[in-house]
Amino acid sequence: MKQSFYNVISNERIAKNTYKMILSGDTSDLTATGQFVNIKLDGFYLRRPISVCDWDETTITLIYKVVGDGTEKMAEIEVGTTLDVLTGLGNGYNTQKSGDKPLLIGGGVGVPPLFALCKRLIEEGKEVSVVLGFNSAEEIFLKDDFEKIGAKVYITTADGSFGTKGFVTDVIKDLEYTYFYTCGPMPMFKAIESVATTSGQYSFEERMGCGFGACMGCSCKTKYGNKRICKDGPVLEREEIVW
């Protein structure tokens, strides 16, 4: 973990209620895909934990959905603003277990951290399929980006306005894969749990106090003992999760 100051170099709407922010600064503490940052916002006591969508030597890309007062404030942040950010938080995804044909499953605001993961898996020579579930066509984002880096992309929308009508499980039940990685809402996780045929990794969300393991605000029980979503997670392996 590192505390650094970042310069906002872009912050724009990319889909319904969905924004992409690019931060410029020290990214050396990001070590795995699926990690998150914790951002201090003016006027709010607690920081806002946001998953990292992608990063390079000098920039971090975040994609976030406006879901409350904090993210609403984030969407108003202007280019050139300096932000106090804790980076390199959480364990992130482990790509070593993926096999040759990993499947990535994202639901809504859970999609962003899968992007850097997808890049990493493709760099490792793996054949990656991506299933992204949204409520409607106007909420879709990152589809072209995933395709551009060489993933096979399937889209589902709950209202049928784009791709397969229904949920991610309507697609993944017909796919062949060696392992899966997912991030999204709890109902989607439970649906995946009922159809998944391989081992996999889930990235969880919980209300956090500190985001770095100090306050025990986001603890959960696992088969291997208590874990803190922020520090020992957010990624947990399928075999250890207590549903």
Partner: protein, 303 residues
Amino acid sequence: MVNTKVNLCGIEIDNPVIPASGTFGFGYEFAELYDINCLGTFSFKGTTKDPRFGNPTPRIAECTAGMINSVGLQNPGVERVIDEELVKLKKCFNKPVMANISGFSLDEYIYTCEKIDEQEQVGWLEVNISCPNVHGGGMSFGTSAKAAAEVTKAVKAVTKKPVIIKLTPNVTDITEIAKACESEGADGLSLINTLLGMRIDLKTKKPVIANKMGGFSGAAIKPVAVRMVYQVYEAVKIPIVGMGGASTAQDVIEFMLAGATAVEIGAANLIDPFASKNIVDSLPEVMAKYGINNLSEYIGGAH
């Protein structure tokens, strides 16, 4: 050169800055970020006789200038605290540590305090009496002068190290509880624990926190805390550790003027992991600004 040293219950500490229990784990998470030996000491995660998972999540809610938590004393239990956590702490902290102890019955307090008192690394025991008494109808020990006195007496009987009783502010008259603890031999008092609070989500129309209510802390509660430290200082002779929303060196001095010998830093550590270090670093400069050379001379200075 200004002097930040204070004497807390017979142990001299380099400065009065003490990260509060529950906001600093067992120290080593923060030791990855900075040398925690710069602190006066710190109060480690509330420890109970048996391991506890704590309350269901969500356990955290944000408020204006503060937060509510209902962690529920998650900890690995006193045996593992001694065998694992204190061993890890030894590698990164070479000062006496403050041991925060909780219990749900007199027997639990006695058991845990006796074991912790034997640990060489421990300088003080900070006994949290805000938990419900399972044999007393679930009412918090700290809300009754009689129950608070009983815990103090029982713990003092099995310990040699200074015992600091941590008081809850959720009472009609905190000075009555403070005096009861002092009369049974408490070596010091720390206050205030969190204020009972609640937040309701307008989207779900339900409480944010799974346990409905929780402990309200953070900058917003500081005036209440300063007032209670001031009142307790007038009621007792034993040292007071002040806390409640302190986030800057100015806040530390304010608590000391109210009557605190040392000051715990709580929620501030959670929003800025360097908060306690920054307070230690800026304290001499802030003292100089207000014409303070020897900090300990200003304890209770507002009276």
